[in-house]
């Protein structure tokens, strides 16, 4: 199968997120890392490819700045092609705008299976998997794992809350939002990526963008954080009551 993995990078949450005076993310001063779920999707794609000699994996990223290393890393891990969709894009590109570009590219390439992370930490206006599928009119499922290839279909497990799940069969072309790969995403050594940078090249393809609905963000702000637990004292009965209340409040009790 012709598999595409849509990957993007997101701010590294390890670092403090800084805001500009206008209340926007100070993207220029931040470090970006591949979205962890996209890493899972890439791993799942590579596992599928390893189990099926005829499959190819294309890693696709929109050139919002500095995505080369991420794509070379995907190549070093075993992807066959690294595609950079170029155009007038920047770090603040919304997911809706991304989905337009990605859907257009996927449509022209005719991928059978499109994998991406189930979500990313910056999906304010929707998750890529559903957005791209909606634009393509393709079969899709999110929060899935354990993908298996058929001849003109794929199967996977979709997870619901409370331990429920379903096995789905999707006709290709299909878009999947991967929750977790069958195994931890593989490590790739620094020198392997460096060698890739020397020996391989990325395909730069002009990204076709079209109008997409945009949201107006009034402000971004950090939640009030406490650095110490709120203490509930030492009375066992009261503590137990409080914990049960908290569980109820947070909808963590099985109904």
């Amino acid at each position: 199968m012709k598999i595409a993995v849509l990957i993007k990078d997101v701010p590294d949450l390890v670092e403090e997120l800084e805001l500009t005076e206008e209340g926007r993310l100070a993207v220029d001063d931040m470090s970006f890392v591949p979205s962890e779920w996209d890493d899972q999707a890439l791993e799942e794609a590579l596992i599928l490819k390893e189990g099926d000699a005829g499959s190819t994996v294309t890693a696709v990223a929109i050139d919002t700045g500095d995505v080369d290393n991420m794509l070379f890393t995907a190549l070093a891990k075993g992807a066959d092609r690294g595609v950079k969709l170029v155009g007038d894009f920047n770090r603040e590109m919304s997911n809706r705008a991304r989905a337009e570009v990605l859907a257009h590219y996927c449509h022209t390439e005719g991928f059978d299976l499109i994998l991406t992370g189930v979500q990313a930490i910056d999906d304010l206006d929707g998750q890529i998997a559903g957005l791209v599928a909606g634009r393509l009119g393709a079969a899709h499922a999110s929060v899935v794992r354990d993908v298996a290839l058929g001849s003109t279909s794929v199967t996977c497990i979709q997870e619901y809350s409370g331990g429920k799940m379903a096995e789905l069969r999707l006709t290709v072309p299909a878009v999947l939002g991967i929750q977790a790969a069958q195994k931890t995403p593989r490590y790739v050594t620094v020198s392997k990526v460096r060698q890739m940078q020397k020996s391989a090249s990325l395909e730069e393809i002009e990204g076709e963008s079209s109008e997409a609905p945009a949201l107006e963000i009034r402000r971004l702000y950090p939640p009030v954080a406490s650095s110490h637990a709120e203490m509930w004292g030492d009375d066992v009965e009261e503590l137990a009551d409080r914990i049960v209340n908290l569980l109820e409040e947070k909808k963590l009790l099985r109904s």
Binding site: D12, V14, E15, E16, S31, V33, K77, T184, R186, Y187, V188, T189, V190, S191, K192, V193, R194, Q195
Partner: protein, 668 residues
């Protein structure tokens, strides 16, 4: 045909046969060595010869186990002294009238006795003492060889005992040393009693002894290179080729492509020689912390498995045969990832085999194939992204310096006398941070002009390299070297032995040069210069030598002297100094899954300390050791018996910066 001619023909045939077999084997091995990676091991002749004399001639490392050392010395010296017998015996047959003279001759008999004693001791060792270190070795081969050596000495005595009769009557020469061979002479009295002294009986007896001696010698020569006893020939060159570079340097030169060992051609020629030199003595296995913990690793088996795999390939005539990968196939990933790179194996090996570079190279191959512990993988990514193993922002590295009253200079902005390379644990681990602050206060008290690199410092890369991630090591090293090159300082100072090792031994290959000191050395100097005044802290402690301080960098005295200056009474654990026992943290182990560990090395070490009389403090000189051993004390529930303290804490009490009560035992 006369006896002489008969024995001459047979001897020539034996010499030719065994020499042919011997040379064929040596050439095969030489061929593999030729195809292997280069390494310079023939420089510094003087030092090399000296080390051969000490290690071979005096058996320096062998004598660390006195019983085995002694028995080996008997047999080993026998191999040299008994050359007299070879010369004499061949001479008797080939050059009628030849003699070694009355002085050398009795030496043969003396060594026959010593070798016999050696053989008996060896049998006792293997059959009665049965040290665990032999587990996995080819014991049958060992017995076979002992048997052969036994045959030779019996042969010597037999042909010497018949020679006094054969010489005059059959060979028509004199035997001037008949009595000098006192053993043979004694036995010859028996033949007199039995009446086996006539030409026929004596000829048969002599021929039997001759063949038992010479025949087995040449059989030995032919068999040796196919067995572990190749060490008899290989040990001397292998010791000659030992590594004379700083021990702590894992990689001698910058690597262009990869450090991964996938085929035998990725080994250096010295690595190949190592495989054929291993004596299977298992001394390395006996000191290996991973082995002691119950992990599937034995450094001996690493060498033997590689050797056996190489032998299989050499014996295989099929050029297209597929072989298992060296990393992951011949040697299992669990074996390779279990290594703490403590270096105890290398330190103890009597023939100077280097295990750690092979293990690191094999790990590198695993890593390139993505076979790595998930937790270690996370740490590798944190080093790459954040520059530290804690997955914390680089900007938080100097946070420890915020909360203390002494100012800490920014070495990137102003010149300092001492540049303090802090390291990850000392910077980020909340349990170690107070120690780091303490060091800063002590430096200030001593009036030292010091500074740190703030967030420009990143992990030294010492562990990344030992995990087999050369590229990451190089990029971390480059970042530090860049930052250091912009700073002005006279010397580098660190509390972290792992950083010390990288700065001192691994960075010079990138052109970096600076004096690097461990804090125990630096504070000792300050005390001796009178810049710190100590008053005695009369406590009884034991001290754990960190591998990367003691073994890899030879810094064993400074911490001890520092404690002595502080009036501390040190009681040594059985394993100390360069023979210290690893805490289990090195080589990336500190971040890896502990599945398979039956008895954590750090716990074994705490038990070793608890066995000492009246020890309340377990002193350490490495930030990682603070975490490792404190956790063991917690896990073992012995907080009220022993407390883990860093030497810096003792010094702080000695110079009046902290009250002695700060060292009190935990009360639970």
């Amino acid at each position: 045909m006369t006896l002489r001619v008969f024995l001459m023909i047979l001897t020539v045939a034996m010499i030719m046969g065994s020499a042919a077999l011997f040379i064929r084997r040596i050439l095969t091995i030489y061929h593999v060595m030729q195809k292997a990676r280069p390494v310079n091991r023939t420089d510094r002749l003087g030092e090399r010869i000296k080390s051969v004399l000490v290690q071979v001639g005096l058996h320096r490392r062998m004598f660390r186990i006195s019983f085995s050392g002694l028995l080996h010395y008997f047999i080993f010296s026998g191999f040299i002294i008994l050359l007299i017998d070879v010369v004499e015996t061949l001479g008797e047959i080939f050059f009628p009238g030849f003699t070694v003279g009355p002085i050398l001759a009795p030496l043969v008999d003396i060594w026959v006795i010593l070798v016999a004693v050696g053989i008996l001791m060896a049998l006792y060792n293997r059959l009665v003492i049965k040290p665990e270190r032999f587990h996995g070795s080819d014991e049958k081969d060992a017995f076979l060889i002992l048997g052969l050596i036994g045959a030779i000495i019996v042969g010597i005595v037999i042909h010497d005992s018949f020679f006094p009769f054969v010489a005059p009557e059959v060979l028509h020469v004199a035997d001037p040393v008949a009595r000098a061979h006192f053993l043979g002479y004694a036995v010859s009295r028996l033949w007199v009693v039995l009446g086996w002294t006539g030409p026929t009986a004596a000829s048969i007896g002599y021929a039997f002894g001759y063949l038992l001696d010479m025949g087995v010698v040449f059989a030995f020569l032919a068999y040796l290179p196919y067995s572990k006893h190749l060490h008899i020939f290989a040990a001397v060159p292998n010791i000659f080729w030992r590594n004379l570079e700083p021990a702590g340097q894992l990689v001698p030169k910058p690597i262009e492509d990869t450090m991964a060992i996938r085929t035998f051609e990725d080994l250096t020629w010295k690595d190949v020689a190592d495989l054929y030199t291993c004596t299977e003595c298992g001394r390395c296995q006996a000191v290996c912390p991973a082995h002691a913990a119950g992990q599937p690793l034995s450094p001996k088996m690493i060498i033997l498995q590689l050797r056996d795999a190489l032998n299989d390939r050499l014996a295989d005539k099929n050029p297209n045969a597929e072989y298992p990968d060296l990393a992951g196939g011949v040697i299992a990933p669990e074996e390779l990832w279990a290594c703490t790179t403590c270096g105890a194996c290398q330190e103890v090996c009597p023939v100077f085999i280097e295990h750690v570079p092979k293990i690191a190279g094999l790990r590198s191959a695993l890593l390139e194939d993505g076979i790595v512990d998930p937790n270690a993988q996370k740490v590798l990514m944190s080093w790459d992204r954040q520059g530290n193993s804690f997955g914390q922002p680089g900007r938080k590295r100097p946070l420890w310096a915020k909360g203390i009253e002494v100012p800490i200079k920014d070495a990137r902005k102003e010149p300092v006398d001492w540049l303090w390379f802090v390291g990850d644990f000392a910077s980020y681990d909340p349990r170690v941070q107070h120690l780091t602050q303490l060091i800063a206060k002590m430096l200030t008290q001593a009036g030292v002009d010091f500074g740190i690199l703030y967030e420009s410092e990143v992990n030294s890369g010492n562990d990344a390299l030992r995990i087999g991630e050369y590229g990451l090591f190089e990029s971390l090293a480059q970042k530090n070297i860049d930052a250091l090159s912009k700073a002005q300082y006279r010397r580098i100072f660190t509390t972290d032995p792992h950083s010390l090792n990288a700065l001192k031994n691994e960075y010079p290959k990138f052109g970096f040069q600076a004096p690097v000191m461990h804090y125990t050395e630096a504070f000792l100097e300050l005390i001796d210069q009178g810049r710190l005044v100590v008053s005695p802290v009369p406590i009884r402690v034991t001290y754990h030598d960190p591998c990367y301080l003691g073994r890899w960098n030879g810094i064993t005295e400074a911490p001890r002297q520092l404690m002595a200056r502080c009036g501390v009474h040190l009681v040594e654990m059985p394993r100390h100094g360069a023979q210290s026992f690893c805490c289990g943290a090195g080589g990336g182990r500190i971040w890896m899954d502990e599945t398979g560990i039956a008895d954590r090395p750090a716990n074994q070490r705490i038990r070793e300390a608890l066995a000492l009389p009246d020890i309340q403090f377990f002193t350490v000189a490495c930030p990682k050791d603070v975490s490792m051993f404190s956790a063991s004390v917690t896990a073992m529930g012995v907080e009220e018996k022993v407390r883990v303290v860093d030497i810096a804490e003792i010094l702080a009490v000695a110079i009046g910066l902290q009250a002695e009560s700060s060292l009190a035992l935990m009360t639970v």
